[in-house]
Amino acid sequence: MIALYAIALGAPDGLAGARGEPLRRLPWGAMTLLAGDAPLPLSAETLRAHEAAVRRIAEQSEACLPARFGAAAESDDALVKAMRAREGELLDALRLVRGREQMTLRIHGSPVPAAAGAGGTGYLEQRRREQRLPALDPLRAALDGTVRAERIEPHTEAGLLASVYHLIDRGAAPRYAQIVRETPLGDLRAVVTGPWPAWSFAPEVARS
């Protein structure tokens, strides 16, 4: 059993996995699959070790799509076979994240109540607009030219409205964080972390 750590462009030799083991580079077209020993069991320490290994890959490669903790295959051949059906999608994603990294915003605040009387299509359209969080538009305007792509994940927990994931150029994190700090968001509160490898910009599932 082998663990997948990342799919990368321009990954160097000498990278290490969560146990410190040398990662094997499996060439696959223009891409490289980075594989290590079998996945470690779930614990706080192994989650941190997996994140650190992916971070090292991302920092030293041109482009890196992180693999989720626990992604594993029986063999190198099985791993490549599992990826094959998604080659185009993975390449597109690698081109998007090349030379970039991710910032994460947790948006806290009270949800805007839905307007009464909106039914059917109108309701769905309204929900779509709400999930895009128009209250963040002033921040989007301030970050214009800094953010290259955005993903939003709405939440249902009271007080936590959404997670917003932004792709920025490498090295732009200090400027990004300063803009977030200095942009008023009314009743909303944005907690920023990063830079991260581009976890939220990887296609989620490679079908075997």
Binding site: R68, R106, V205
Partner: protein, 68 residues
């Protein structure tokens, strides 16, 4: 009565700090998966998923309290 030992997933949920919660969201919730392959060592991970939003929300409240 002797308390049973917490599972690894329960230990993570009980003791996670803000930085670990951020790592959990990225490392367990995001990234490339391999469908049809074994997800080794991830038994109980559903519990972490279920609690993650609440924990992220709570960690912000703790943070806010510390800043006051």
């Amino acid at each position: 009565m002797k308390r049973r030992e917490l599972t690894p997933a329960e230990q993570i949920v009980e003791h996670a700090d803000a930085s670990l919660l951020e790592i959990i969201d990225h490392v367990l919730n995001k990234g490339v998966m391999i469908r049809g392959e074994v997800m080794l060592g991830v038994a109980g991970v559903d519990l972490v998923y279920l609690r993650l939003e609440a924990l992220l929300c709570a960690s912000d409240k703790l943070l806010s309290k510390g800043e006051e």
